[in-house]
């Protein structure tokens, strides 16, 4: 009797793989065409002009203070505290202006320069904030202190870079909290829009904190039109590719969205996604390791099963 098993196996594998291909990669491609085909410039921000001047950090420091940045933003490393607490700031601006201590390490330099001159343009929210119609972005544009504005902006960027930690020392949590944390909570990491929720001894204090979060969110909803979603599980519901493209330019993925382009560097974007993995795919390293061990175990099991079969069947032919 001819052994038909190889051909039967080939038929079973063929039909299974055909089904898999059609309902997974192929259907995925059709359903998510827009995201898959969205342009991706690797965070080069080619739409923004290059910085032509060499910045001077020392004069940048004065400009940042006198130019008004610190009227809204804190710069903790330079000993400049926030003018208002997060809830009050959100009441005034819709959202709490982030601390600028590490802005120089997290945001792209070209982006920062453009942001200072024209926030709505850099953030790609001009459809919401049209200066011509008097719809002003809450972060005011910088019109210069009388000198060469491009030089002044380059100085400010140089200053922010000089006080920031080295880009390689930015942690995933830092990158996330600076760039996304003012809008998106991450419940599974205890993160709220006004910071990490501490452990309170008294329930009263815990509830008081929750109320502050709710007040902050009320301002945020007014500003954004809706509450930005909690991102705890978004790494599993959206995946790396979607997130990376959304961060690079939200308008490419969600046309007309209120979410700004935050202008992070490629490296910071990777760290932000890493942080989302820590929240929603926490056990990925353990999964790799256990996976390897389980595989070794199962292969040994299969080998023994094969040897047992051979031994039992020896007498049957």
């Amino acid at each position: 009797m001819k052994n038909k098993e190889p051909i039967i196996l080939a038929v079973v594998v063929f039909f299974s793989l055909a089904t898999y291909y059609l309902v997974e990669p192929f259907a995925h491609h059709v359903l998510h065409k827009k995201v898959i085909e969205a342009k991706n410039e690797g965070f080069a921000y080619n739409d923004l002009p290059a910085i032509t001047k060499t910045g001077n950090a020392a004069s940048g420091k004065d400009l940042v203070v006198n130019g008004g940045c610190t009227g809204c933003h804190s710069i903790e490393v330079a000993g400049m505290p926030a003018p208002m607490d997060a809830v009050t700031a959100a009441g005034a601006y819709g959202v709490n202006p982030p601390d600028l201590s590490n802005a120089g390490a997290i945001y792209d330099a070209k982006f920062l320069a453009d942001l200072i001159k024209n926030p709505a343009h850099a953030l790609k929210v001009e459809h919401k904030f049209d200066a011509a119609k008097g719809e002003m972005h809450p972060m005011v544009s910088y019109y210069g202190m009388g000198g060469d504005i491009d030089q002044e902006v380059a100085d400010m960027v140089a200053y922010m870079q000089s006080i920031a930690v080295k880009p390689e020392d930015v942690t995933p949590a830092m990158a996330y909290e600076d760039a996304c944390g003012r809008c998106h909570s991450v419940e599974y990491e205890k993160w709220t829009q006004i910071g990490e929720k501490p452990k309170f001894k008294h329930e009263k204090d815990s509830l008081a904190f929750d109320i502050k979060v709710i007040e902050y969110q009320e301002s945020l909803i007014k500003y954004m039109g809706k509450l930005p979603p909690d991102l705890s599980m978004y790494i599993r519901s959206r995946g790396d590719d979607f997130l990376s493209k959304l961060i690079e330019n939200p308008q490419n993925i969600l046309e007309g969205t209120a979410m700004p382009r935050v202008g992070v560097t490629a490296d910071a974007a990777e760290k932000i996604i890493e942080h989302m993995k820590d929240a929603g795919d926490t056990k990925r390293h353990e999964r790799e390791e256990i996976g390897r061990n389980v595989m070794i175990y199962i292969i040994i099991f299969a080998i023994f099963a094969f040897l047992w079969k051979k031994q039992v069947w020896r007498d049957l032919h």
């Binding site: 256990i290 099963a305 047992w308 079969k309 031994q311």
Partner: protein
């Protein structure tokens, strides 16, 4: 009372009370299996093992899962995935096994169809098998509700809506099933009960029936050969193991079962650790939100073919054909009028019927996931019609078949 003697061993003690030796013979060592079968006959054992994996992983998940609409998503995605040691592993095993079990069920079913294993005395194996398919479908659907994600909620909404019966507008029935106007706490609670208690119980009972139905007809073989089990087993017991056409279930065929199970488990655990997203839909990692309809609502892959039979038509005709698709496989032993219980490739037109049916169901599966637009909805319509036509044609094709 029966006469009991002092036991000479534990085995003897049990023998006098439970007849364990006899049971072992009936169920294992003298349960005779034809030698001319291939690895497809190990799929039943693969299903048993996969079901066991589902039960064990399910028990672990059940220890931490909270069946309330406020807590369910959190208990699954935070408590089980992050807090509990190896919770993620049990969840991935459970999710992947629930999907893979259907792949194996389909292979098992089509094996049965190909070799004509539902004919002449094996009708009850087939019917109990189809009841298992229905019970597994209900089990998978109810389980899919439990994480209370976006797909849980919206698939629950869409599927329960079907019970309104189209223009019959039996909304009262839909509300009765949901226990509410929309899927909510009452809905989650009852599907939780079904998933962890009533349906597993039914499945275990049906597996028992399935096995009992197998015992007297014995399994079929890949050559459609009529085997005289009494004569062949006598030959085997008299020492001519090589000359006999049959072998023991244990350890003879079971050793091969285990070999196939080993290979299957390599494949299975590869999926569990490295390729699980086909079984755990990304959309279901967004928490349920009754105000936000997902862009695409589709069932899990194993329901897609019947979903696609529903979709291309207006709601009433769609529902009728959907119902047709659900029950028609059960009737196979009676719709196939041919006297031959041999592999399909020796049955002329039926061979074509078989391969077209298989390919067409794969096409229906693919179209069921895609948005019903343009060329996809046309392909879906043609496939759905072909599916129905094939079943109507079956009795006529097979009635004309000559005895081989």
């Amino acid at each position: 009372m029966a006469h009991f003697t002092k036991a000479t061993s534990v085995k003897d003690w049990l023998n006098q009370r439970l007849a364990v030796e006899k049971i072992e013979k009936v169920m294992a060592s003298e349960y005779w299996i034809p030698k001319n079968i291939n690895f497809l006959w190990a799929m039943g054992m693969v299903l048993v093992i996969t079901f066991a994996l589902l039960v064990v992983s399910g028990i672990f998940l059940l220890m931490y899962y909270v069946p309330t609409v406020d807590e369910a998503f959190y208990s699954v995605n935070y408590t089980i995935m992050r807090e509990v040691d190896f919770g993620w592993l049990w969840r991935h095993i459970h999710g992947v096994a629930a999907s893979v079990v259907f792949l194996v069920i389909y292979i098992h079913m089509f094996t049965g169809i190909y070799y004509g294993s539902y004919k002449k005395g094996r009708e009850l194996i087939w019917v109990s098998g189809m009841l298992l398919f229905v019970a597994f479908s209900a089990e998978a659907f109810s389980g899919y509700m439990l994480p209370w994600g976006q797909m849980s909620y919206w698939a629950g909404m869409v599927i329960t809506n079907l019970f309104a019966g189209g223009s019959l507008h039996a909304d009262g029935l839909v509300e009765w099933i949901r226990g509410d106007y929309v899927p909510a706490q009452a809905f989650l609670g009852r599907f939780f009960m079904l998933h962890v208690f009533l349906l597993p119980l039914a499945i275990m009972a049906l597996i028992g029936l399935h096995f009992a139905a197998l015992r007297i007809p014995h399994v079929n073989n890949q050559d459609g050969e009529e085997i005289d089990f009494d004569a062949e087993s006598k030959k085997y017991l008299d020492g001519d193991k090589a000359g006999s056409k049959v072998m023991r279930f244990a350890n003879d065929f079971m050793s091969k079962d285990m070999m196939v199970v080993g290979i299957f488990l390599i494949f299975f655990f590869y999926l569990v650790f490295w390729n699980y997203s086909f079984a755990m839909d990304p959309v279901n990692f967004d928490p349920a939100d009754g105000l936000k309809t997902p862009a695409h609502i589709y069932p899990e892959w194993y329901f897609l073919w019947s979903y696609e039979i529903l979709r291309p038509f207006n709601i009433d005709l769609g529902l009728i054909l959907f119902g047709f698709a659900q029950v028609i496989f059960v009737l196979l032993p009676w719709l196939d009028r041919s006297p031959n219980a041999v592999p399909a490739n020796r049955r002329g037109l039926f061979a074509i019927w078989f391969w077209v049916m298989l390919s067409n169901m794969i096409i229906l599966t693919a179209m069921g996931k895609l948005p019903p637009e343009g060329v996809f909805s046309q392909i879906g319509l043609v496939s759905a019609v072909l599916f129905v036509v094939q079943w109507i044609a079956l009795p006529f094709i097979t009635a004309r078949e000559k005895k081989v």
